[in-house]
Subunit: 280 residues, 2 copies
């Protein structure tokens, strides 16, 4: 199978590695608007060749859109307009705006709206890694609007690289992801800024940064372009999640000011229930 991957960053590059490893595709064509990414993707053998989008679509059996979500709508439109029977799968982190845009498109059946719950704080083709998708979930939205053939090929691809599929509406997806992913990123960005401020006055405090700090602040390394677009497209869910988070932090603040150790203990004990979710 010839697979075209549009967007050769962490997601697209890691998918290229995985598809090669499991033998799902014999030939991978890369497309990226950034010439440095194209060059790097060839150097790293992520793709067999680089083409323009229009040239790539013609020879493809399957087209993966792995661009930042701000660009995805335009690119999926361009691909679907050119597509004959190719399967088109996007990997974007927000789904509502995307799905709305295509639900009456004449080629909607070719398209599978997916989001692999996988990622790291790194970006670009150099960040691509072999096991990014293994043993992870992938959400597929509006499966009934995809043709049976497109859906089965997309799910087969995700299964082959070790993923299991969860079906959701775009609304459900965007709400849940606001809480369990987008909020974590904002929390890390803000934590990074808070601690960097302190460093302006006090040098070398980072000698002391332990694993707890690294763990909570590592997402502050994430790509601003990518996260600007995700937050903008999921504003309606991100805002209530952020409000709820700020309210809890303010409640902690009040308890600390009032030395209310009893209430702090109740809050921390309740928070411990996260053990049922974070098991490792």
């Amino acid at each position: 199978m010839t697979v075209v991957i549009i967007g050769l960053g962490l997601m697209g590059g890691s998918l290229a590695i995985a598809l090669n490893e499991v033998g799902f595709s014999q030939h991978i064509i890369g497309v990226d608007s950034n010439p440095t990414h194209c060059k790097k993707a060839l150097e790293l053998n992520l793709v067999n060749e680089i083409r323009t989008l229009d040239d790539a679509v013609i020879d493809a059996d399957m087209i993966i859109v792995a661009t930042p979500v701000a660009a995805s709508i335009g690119i999926i439109a361009q691909v679907l307009d050119k597509a004959l029977d190719q399967v088109v799968v996007d990997l974007g982190s927000t789904k509502k705006e995307l799905c709305l845009n295509f639900n009456t498109h004449p080629k909607r059946g070719n398209y599978v709206s997916a989001h692999p719950i996988a990622g790291t704080e790194n970006s670009g083709p150099k960040a691509a890694c072999s096991n990014l998708y293994k043993n992870k979930k992938v959400v597929v939205c509006e499966k009934n609007l995809s043709s049976d053939q497109a859906l089965s090929v997309a799910i087969e691809m995700f299964n082959k690289i070790g993923m299991s599929t969860v079906f959701m509406t775009p609304d459900e997806h965007d709400k849940h992801l606001a809480y369990i992913s987008h909020l974590s990123h904002i929390s890390s960005f803000a934590l990074g800024l808070t601690v960097l401020d302190l460093e302006k006055d006090e040098k070398n405090i980072f000698n002391l940064a332990g694993s707890g700090f690294s763990s909570t602040a590592r997402l502050a390394k994430s790509s601003p372009e990518m996260w600007n677009a995700i937050i903008a497209q999921n504003k309606e869910n991100v805002l209530p999640a952020l409000d709820s988070y700020i309210n809890y932090l303010r409640a902690f603040r009040d308890d600390i000011i009032n030395s209310n150790e009893k209430e702090l203990k109740i809050k921390m004990t309740n928070a411990n229930k996260i053990r049922k979710i974070i098991k490792e």
Copy 2:
């Protein structure tokens, strides 16, 4: 050398494993007010025997206080009152209140006020692990108040288990730790609570919890008793750190409401500078 470890949780238990492994001590006596911890520590061969505090001190060359900080002042006092020439080292996460309490104690020279920057979100003897301290920093406060002999034995111990020493005043220590550790814990506790609230209405969202969420919220599993005491003892530094963090989150919130992507990009790009600290 006979070492007494008071407090057989994550820190004390892991130290016992490390001291055994490097051959620093030939005999380890465990002390813990919790009989279940004592039993478990024996079962896991963390210690050679269990004694009461008073019985243990008599035969010790070195005494490690690895209890939650709320108990440490009382225990260090009890130990120093009984000590002859034993070296007493505490591993607590806050240093100012502790140091203040002992800076005129007649046996202050015996005491080394230390804080290994190492830990996990797990607690109790079962959480003890072999490499907790390896390649980490340990902060030693008020080194000039420790005798040369006590200081050199303590540093030798930390070096042998793979740690390097940083000297700080208790004020500096507590301020820096508020930002790079205590704030991370509060941020995780609040994130855990926010996401657990959502789960009350919407089941199974945790199917989707990815590595980003696990990373930012794992500290929400930490011990409420331990963190209540740390926060209480470091209130004066934790509060400004928390205020600064909430202010950044509110600024993110305002930018999102106003769709101010330019400003969001500036903030996230500044936060990316955390790369110089979190390198892996």
